[in-house]
């Protein structure tokens, strides 16, 4: 799909989210709730008493962004299935060992999960949704995100390029 057309579509979905929910789109918020629920399964008392997750106890998953995350999974699946893009596997460049790619994906995830809590959102919830309102913090976040991405990308080049 033409990226600009996809962008307009995404922008309209974001506008609709603001008009209906009063809040923007988000993915990491749902992930954090899931993390809290899993933490609760492992250590209920500890999680309930914790300063960050504890505020969401006991109904960690009763949150609109959890349902949005579920929607993203469903929408992504339907769209990929319709386009014939359901390709199970570990995506990596030629010559990149699977273990290396798996390690980088996992470690990158840890950094992103952590940072999304610190910044109260990720690419969608903070950069895009807040940026569309021209909120200072969201725009700083977006600038920092791309700056750091470009700065460190060279170290991870090997997972994509031979």
């Amino acid at each position: 799909m033409n990226p600009y057309a996809a962008g307009v579509f995404l922008g309209l979905v974001l506008t609709a989210s603001y008009a209906v929910l009063g809040a923007g789109l988000g993915a990491s918020g749902g992930l954090a709730r899931l993390a809290a629920a899993l933490s609760h399964l492992a250590a209920p008392a500890r999680t309930q008493a914790s300063a960050y997750f504890g505020a969401w106890a006991p109904h960690y998953l009763s949150y609109y962004l959890v349902f949005m995350l579920l929607g993203i999974l469903v929408g992504g699946f339907l769209s990929a299935a319709a386009a014939g893009r359901l390709q199970p596997g570990l995506e990596r460049g030629p010559g990149c060992p699977a273990a290396k790619r798996a390690f980088l994906a996992l470690t990158g995830g840890v950094l992103v999960g952590f940072a999304s809590r610190l910044a109260q959102g990720c690419t969608s919830g903070q950069a895009l949704s807040g940026g569309a309102l021209l909120l200072t913090g969201s725009l700083i976040f977006m600038a920092a995100l791309f700056a750091a991405g470009f700065a460190v990308a060279r170290f991870f080049r090997g997972q994509w390029y031979a």
Binding site: M1, P3, Y4, A6, G7, F9, G11, L12, S17, Y18, A19, V20, G22, A23, L25, S28, L31, L38, A51, L65, F67, G71, V74, G75, G76, A80, R85, Q87, P88, E91, R101, L104, A105, G108, G109, V110, L111, V112, G113, F114, A115, S116, L118, A119, G121, C122, T123, L128, G130, A132, L135, G137, S138, I140, A144, L145, F150, A151, A153, Q159
Partner: protein, 663 residues
Amino acid sequence: MLSTFYGTDRLDSPAAWAAAFVLGVLFGVALERAGFGSSRRLAAVFYLDDLAVIKVMFTALVTALLGLVILTGSGLLPPDQLFYLPTVYGAHLLGGLILGAGFAMGGWCPGTAAVGLASGKLDALLFLAGGIAGCILYNELFPWLQPLAVWGEAGVDFLYPHLGLSQGAAAFYVSLLAVLAFWGCEILEHRRGVGGRLLSGRFLPTFSLALLAAAAVAYLVAPVDMAPVSAAGPSREAELLARIEAGADHLEPEDLADRLLAREPGLVVADVRSEAEYQAFHIRGALHAPLPQVHEILAPYKNKGRIVLYSGGMTHAAQARDSLARQGFRNVYLLSEGLAGFRERVLKPVSLRDEPLDPEKAARINAWRAFFLAAPAAVGPEPAEMPQPLPGLIETEWLAQHLGKPWLKIIDLRSQPEYNTGHIPGAVYLNYDSLRGVVGGVSSMLLPAELLAGHFSLLGITPRDLVVLVPGERMHDATLVGMAAERLGHRRYAIVQGGMAKWLKEKRPLTTALPAAAPPSYYPVNPGADDFTVEAHTVLEASRTGRPLILDVRPVEYFRGEKSEEARAGHIPGAKNRPFSEDVAAGPEGIFFKPAAELAAAYARLLLDKEAPVIVHCRTGHQASQTFFVLKRLLGYRNVKYYDAGWSEWASRPELPVAAAGK
């Protein structure tokens, strides 16, 4: 006019969840159609091989920006229906840097990884598992990270007022920048030979013009006012400003006191100061809602009843109020002049007020004081941890086991040089004489409760604390400080049997380090606590009638008049002598109260039963404080009075009778 789930406070309803799910499906489709179900394609942006991420993201941003400006500017969507993420400069900068690094490393961000997972990508699954671990890590580290999470808090903050732009103008310039960036992306891709097909053909010029036309519409529709407040949500900010102007957002201290006294339903008082300050003193019934968590803690009371915020002064409370107002709280009030004003205007005792008070106002003040200064019952350490009974005696062993407890306030009564050579860790030095002064022309009187409360406040003592008194060579130094506690109604005090000498003998921990200065507390004055101090006329009456028993605790030679440092020698007619020194045993092992059974037998000869009234005195009230402690606190006599002024006053007043020698 549209109303949103957030604006109507229904974001936690199943209907909102259903809407969020549908929006999520559309979001997922949009990301998948953009090609973001592939980590390789996402990561390519960082190697300038495929700039789709930038194109899609900025197109979406500009589309939503223009859409929102048009919706709100036309009045269709009131700005107060929207949730604005507050800006936290430090956290957003640092979070952005870490997230960007993680994005380049993992090849995903959370939303795209969800789409990747739905497309069957194993690396997306790993990335999301890592993301969950990252969230849990954040939660575990949160107690240490919290200062970072609020570092550079600026509340809801829009970029354009900083640039001197109106919202409409900013939207237009951002759109123009985006169009230029799109052309830049296409040219770059074309040069690198990785794309840029859209450079030829009519699409890009048409799209650019359409975007700029929409931006022009947005510019025309947006409010002209360039003040940041109008953009932050005109109705709320205007409402807030109007309320501030009208003073309708303030509550006077007297007004708050009356409402609390009347237990007004729905009234919530919140203290936004630090934990230590709150623990030291807070308005009775106030919640603790420190700034970083003020939204969460007060969320249950949003737009229900009345929330009154206070801090030490006004600044922090006003900050919290503004932040809450932006989150849609419309029931937040400030306490005028903060806690300082509350102390001055509500808690200050009638006796210390300069202005003339009619009896009605005086009664009102006394009612407030009785209500707000009532000793908190259910606070402080677990009763099990407190030694029993209190006031009472404790052993060095007990003290050694409880060193470092935050509720323990140890007072070392030796001389300053002795204290400096080594003291119990955490102990402060106090000269008992600083609690005495000239009162009513008589020297060495225990200070009035207001001044004693001031001393206790400076020592950081709160009514919940256990004050541990460690005597040096003289037990009555400790009991004199005990009298100060008694005058304040502070029952949580204990004297260490054996004193400092025993502690040293047992080679228990010592330090020369000064304890960290405790933050001054606010020790409340309990006006009714001192019901034991009596004056000369009461003693004269007792002297005439023989009841209560007057117990002179000075050394026997002073009682007999053989020795004297006063104008007149002798004792009060009818008084009995029981030298204070008889109640303690001093030696190289330390200073000890004699065993309770021995003391009980000795006093049983003087006093018939535990109800028998008795007045104790000495020359200045120093030695008598020890007998007072023995009788009242160790032996359980219930009617013990304290003639503080003692012989130094009695001897100087020729009209008072004196019995001399022999008797």
